[in-house]
């Protein structure tokens, strides 16, 4: 173990004993290959068992470990000390969310939004299992695949200035997921989801700053999802105004 040290400032908040968050500095050994999560685990195991944060997979796929590292939303398991060395780092809970304790945020609002956009296939008719799988060409799969890669880590919400101003904004992850199902050749629920997306808390607050796509660790590109949805929503709006409901066949293409 090298004897070089590394400093890490962590935002602490214990609602039972503190009225407001405070910064606490820890000194840890500098290990080149450590992730920020490894550093937190070192602190929890050896220095201070009271530090609280979420994590599980340590391989950037479960989406638990999002935090602000030096002011940027990051997956802490996939962010390495070496990229900040020499120097120090500051770790804070994800921006724009209420803090429950230390680095743990409250994500209830996101769970509600997720449910709201109907993130499941709404087929025209149920296909019996005995008839086997739906056919879907690789091209049809590619249309929505990217938007199915979201790990719900919420980094995009922390990066989004509009969400900071309007907590009820459905936001990048939920809207991308809505598009994921809308673009799926097996789905016929686009009307229902567009009705939800096409509201003042849906796609419209988005000013296309694009920071959601920049911070997304899975390259989902929510900004483009929202743009696409805006276009569909506009078309839907015209259709609804110009054509009475029911005059078109449901079904997306």
């Amino acid at each position: 173990m090298p004897d070089e040290q590394f400093e890490i400032d962590i935002l602490r908040y214990r609602p039972e004993t503190e009225n407001e968050p405070v910064m606490q500095t820890y000194t840890i050994p500098y290990v080149r290959d450590w992730s920020v999560l490894d550093a937190l685990n070192h602190i929890k195991d050896n220095l201070d068992g009271t530090l609280s944060y979420r994590w599980s997979c340590k391989m950037a796929v479960c989406g638990s470990c999002g935090m602000m590292v030096n002011g940027e939303p990051k997956l802490s398991c996939n962010t390495f000390l070496r990229d900040y060395h020499p120097g120090k780092i500051t770790v804070e809970p994800l921006a724009h969310f209420p803090i429950e304790r230390d680095l743990i945020i409250n994500m209830d609002s996101f769970m509600e939004k997720l449910e709201k956009i109907k993130p499941y296939l709404i087929p025209t008719e149920e296909k019996p299992l005995a008839d086997g799988e739906h056919l879907q060409s690789p091209d049809e799969l590619m249309k929505y695949k990217q938007y199915s890669m979201c790990i719900n880590c919420l980094l995009c919400y922390s990066a989004c200035p509009e969400f900071g101003l309007e907590p009820d904004f459905l936001g990048p992850a939920a809207l991308s997921l809505a598009l994921r199902y809308n673009l799926d050749s097996r789905d016929n629920g686009q009307d229902q989801r567009t009705r939800i997306a096409n509201t003042d808390k849906g796609v419209w607050p988005c000013m296309f700053v694009g920071s959601c796509s920049e911070v997304c660790p899975k390259h989902v590109n929510p900004a483009s999802a929202i743009q696409q949805t805006k276009i569909t929503s506009t078309i839907e709006w015209y259709k609804n105004v110009l054509m009475p409901r029911g005059s078109e066949a449901g079904g997306n293409d």
Binding site: K44, G49, E100
Partner: protein
């Protein structure tokens, strides 16, 4: 204590728990479900599965093939009635996932594609690139949102089962956000809490994979079956244990030692050509591959690194395009966590603990010996995997038997009533006091992280790829010592809100019990079979004495009691396991 009354409690919202919940919601809409999980469902470790899920799919494949691959892969310790049910229902369940939206990879004709996997005679592994578990989990979770009867309790930590009048009638769980305990009274309980890989030091498992459900059932008197069978996956990143899926080899990747030599040919898996070839060389079963790497290390033919001895997983010949299409996540992980680009450089890998074949004893209906208690997924042992699981059988297991658990638990719940509510509440109170005393222990100087690390190390040393009586005994002794020391573990954190240290302590208590069940079951099995290999005079399989499941029973005052139960053999009599050229010759 707040009481929540429901019909069915499901503990765990990974692939198995979600499949069970959806079954109950769809087929028994009148039953109320409480779905409890210590993490948000999409964080469950099913999310990390990469390679895919097996089901007979191609015209030239048969159920008999899948049956035989599984039974021989499990070194004949599989319950063949379970395996038969499994192979018959596998495809239907994967189609069901497709109907719910799972983005399986496709062939150009629009049908679902399949890939080769270790120990499987014909390609039959369905995959969603190399994020199969991620897509299965999110598909199931998102689909579950359709059903109003599923009441989720996210970030609730279950600590104990309530057993009253000889049956399981509920659980107690702590709301992590507040620290307050709730009593869930139910007519049936389904455990779907996942594996226990974190009892070992080097492993591919997430932080939450701590065997809590095994521990709960075990303490409630339910036997843990076949716990000595722990799967080491041969190809994991050395520093972190992060998995490099078997699909790397399914797609044509090779394993070489420090001389660039494909060493598997020396261990009954060759010859090398023709390549690729199913059930040969790199597509042999995991136990054999991990054992071969161990031998290479003994011979000094592995590569020394600061993170231990490794061999190389070489994917370069697959080319950038195929790697990007079939194994994009692997490329990302290798770059981020090992600093290697698989397009240009072989990936250094070594074996790490991956999967617990053993678990709460069940059968093909997910029913445990305790009335009212069901178990499914990696926490259960229904006899499917025997002494060695074949890769890609377990994701399918989650859905095939998740559905079974839903049905059997519902049928049971429909026909019983909760009895003796006041005794149930008294029990819950007792469990709360146990947690309170752990939280507020005045004396004690042990750190839980120290005990956890010592446990993981002794498991690695004693219950490794190869075992001896002495090494296993030493581990058993060490575990008893740790169990004692755990009684003076003292927490830094005595608060109520998100006291994550408390949950680490409760997990550790359960892990020490689970670890002991593994170590003692291993020590008692005086033969070598599948993933349990001994070097001390018991190098061979002994069907006369040990063609048996081991059952570990909890003993509050000391070592577990080990008993044995028969294996269900229907059509396949135990025979020699053969791979590589020998298997081809046999097939002719």
């Amino acid at each position: 204590m707040e009481v929540i009354t429901t019909d069915i409690v499901i503990i765990g919202a990974g692939g198995a728990g979600l499949r069970a919940a959806i079954t109950v919601a769809e087929q028994y809409p009148d039953l109320k479900i409480a779905l409890i999980s210590k993490v948000y469902p999409m964080r469950s470790h099913t999310v990390a599965a990469e390679g895919g899920a097996a089901a007979v799919t191609q015209d030239h494949d048969t159920l008999e093939n899948h049956f035989h691959d599984t039974v021989s892969g499990g070194d004949w310790l599989c319950d063949q009635d379970t395996v038969q049910y499994f192979v018959e229902h596998a495809r239907e369940e994967l189609v069901q996932l497709e109907h719910w939206g799972c983005p399986w990879s496709r062939k150009s004709d629009g049908h679902v594609d399949v890939r080769a996997f270790g120990g499987m005679k014909i390609e039959r592994t369905w995959f969603a690139a190399d994020k199969s578990g991620f897509h299965i989990l999110h598909t199931l979770f998102q689909t579950s949102l359709k059903y109003g009867s599923i009441n989720r309790f996210d970030e609730y930590f279950t600590t104990d089962l309530i057993v009253e009048d000889g049956r399981c009638q509920g659980v107690v769980a702590i709301e992590i956000a507040t620290g307050s305990m709730r009593l869930f009274v139910a007519k049936a309980v389904i455990l779907a809490t996942g594996g226990a890989g974190r009892v070992f030091r080097a492993n591919t498992n997430g932080a939450i994979v701590t065997g809590d459900g095994m521990g709960m059932a075990y303490r409630a008197g339910v036997p843990l079956q076949d716990m000595e069978f722990v799967q080491y996956h041969p190809t994991c990143l050395a520093a972190t244990g992060i998995l490099m899926t078997e699909a790397c080899r399914g797609e044509g990747g090779i394993l070489v030692n420090k001389d660039g030599y494909r060493f598997l040919q020396d261990y009954g898996l060759g010859p090398v050509d023709p390549w690729p070839r199913n059930k040969a060389m790199e597509l042999g079963p995991r136990d054999r591959l991990s054992q071969a790497i161990w031998h290479e290390q003994q011979k000094g033919r592995t590569i020394k690194t600061e993170n231990g001895d490794v061999v190389n997983l070489d994917l370069r010949h697959l080319g950038a395009k195929k790697l990007q299409e079939r194994l994009p996540f692997i490329c990302e992980l290798a770059k981020d966590f090992a600093g290697v680009d698989p397009v240009t450089t072989p990936i250094p890998v070594k074996p790490a603990v991956h999967y617990t074949m053993g678990g709460v004893k069940t059968d093909l209906t997910a029913t445990t010996p305790l009335p009212g208690l069901y178990a499914v997924g990696e926490c259960a042992s229904n006899g499917l995997h025997g002494a060695n699981r074949l890769g890609s059988n377990s994701l399918t297991e989650l859905v095939v038997f998740g559905k079974q658990a839903g049905i059997y638990a519902s049928e049971y719940a429909k026909n019983v009533a909760v009895t003796n509510q006041s005794a149930i509440e008294a029990q819950a109170e007792k469990y709360r006091q146990r947690i309170d005393s752990l939280l507020n222990r005045a004396e004690g100087n042990e750190r839980i992280s120290t005990i956890r690390k010592e446990m993981a190390l002794t498991m690695e040393e004693g219950i490794g790829i190869y075992r001896t009586g002495d090494s296993m005994q030493a581990t058993c002794n060490k575990l008893s010592e740790l169990r004692e020391r755990m009684k003076s573990a003292k927490l830094d954190d005595t608060s109520s809100v998100y006291n994550t240290e408390l949950f680490l302590a409760i997990e550790l208590e359960a892990m020490l019990e689970t670890a002991a069940s593994m170590a003692h079951s291993a020590l008692n099995r005086k033969e070598s079979r599948g993933s349990h290999q001994r070097l001390d005079g018991y190098e061979n399989r002994d069907d006369v004495n040990y063609l048996k499941h081991s059952l570990a029973y909890y003993n509050a005052d000391g070592d577990p009691k080990i008993e044995y139960a028969d294996v269900c053999i229907t059509t396949s009599q135990p025979a020699e396991r053969v791979y590589g050229g020998a298997a081809d010759d046999r097939g002719k």
